[in-house]
């Protein structure tokens, strides 16, 4: 699959924007999760968990879907390929894994938002769930930082499939 330079730049812009935006949104989510866990102010706790649900549904989930889709388009339309280089393959696995985990964890986020919308959370109430959200958001920030680092450094190393394709292409170009 080949793209015109203009289209390729547009796809790259979409991929970088969605990927870095995802990292930024999850960082904001982490700040809200920490505020919800540690604040003594009931209004702050309520606001934090309500904002977390909104952020998750309307910012994080769309970006977490846009990032791998635009990444797939970029990899298949450039010489990098999807399975040729370890850094691309690992980034794909990280992104898919993080998206699945996020979608699985949307249910408890919604549960917490419903609870704070109806009642005032007492100190320590749903403590395990609130700590888990902080831990998950922290882990997500780390994972997305790893993905960003891989994109920038592009560490060397081709997969066995990548080497096979490389040899095939070299043989074809040297009849």
């Amino acid at each position: 699959m080949t793209m015109t330079p203009g289209l390729r730049k547009f796809a790259l812009t979409a991929h970088v924007t969605s990927s870095v935006g995802w990292l930024g949104a999850v960082s904001g989510f982490l700040a809200l999760a920490i505020a919800g866990l540690t604040s003594q102010d009931a209004q702050m706790v309520r606001a934090a968990y309500l904002a977390m649900e909104l952020t998750a549904w309307f910012v994080i989930v769309p970006l977490s879907l846009a990032s791998p889709i635009t990444g797939l388009v970029m990899s298949l339309s450039t010489t990098w390929g999807l399975f040729r280089h370890y850094w691309v393959l690992i980034k794909l696995l990280i992104t898919v894994f993080a998206t699945i985990l996020l979608l699985v964890h949307m249910q408890p986020i919604g549960h917490l938002a419903r609870v704070v919308a109806e009642t005032t959370l007492s100190k320590g109430e749903l403590g395990g769930l609130r700590i888990q959200l902080v831990a998950d958001a922290g882990a997500a920030v780390l994972v997305l930082l790893v993905a960003t680092t891989l994109s920038v450094y592009k560490p060397r190393g081709m997969t066995p499939y990548g080497w096979r394709k490389h040899h095939e292409e070299r043989e074809e170009s040297q009849p």
Binding site: Y86, I90, H105, P108, H111, L126, L129, Q132, G157, W163
Partner: protein, 53 residues
């Protein structure tokens, strides 16, 4: 002799351009430990499933 030949072949494979880079092995090992830890936490009831009640 066969062990020496095999280890020599293994060494040359590891040092060749087509071998899996060390950073991939390190990354894979760390990822495996983290995923196993995550699965164990969830299976032992320390994950999200145990906090709804």
């Amino acid at each position: 002799l066969s062990i020496a030949v095999l280890s020599g072949k293994l060494l040359s494979m590891m040092q060749s351009d087509e071998s899996t880079p060390r950073w991939v092995w390190g990354f894979g090992i760390v990822a495996l430990i983290l995923v196993l830890g995550f699965v164990v936490l969830h299976l032992t009831g320390h994950g999200l499933g145990g906090h709804f009640s």
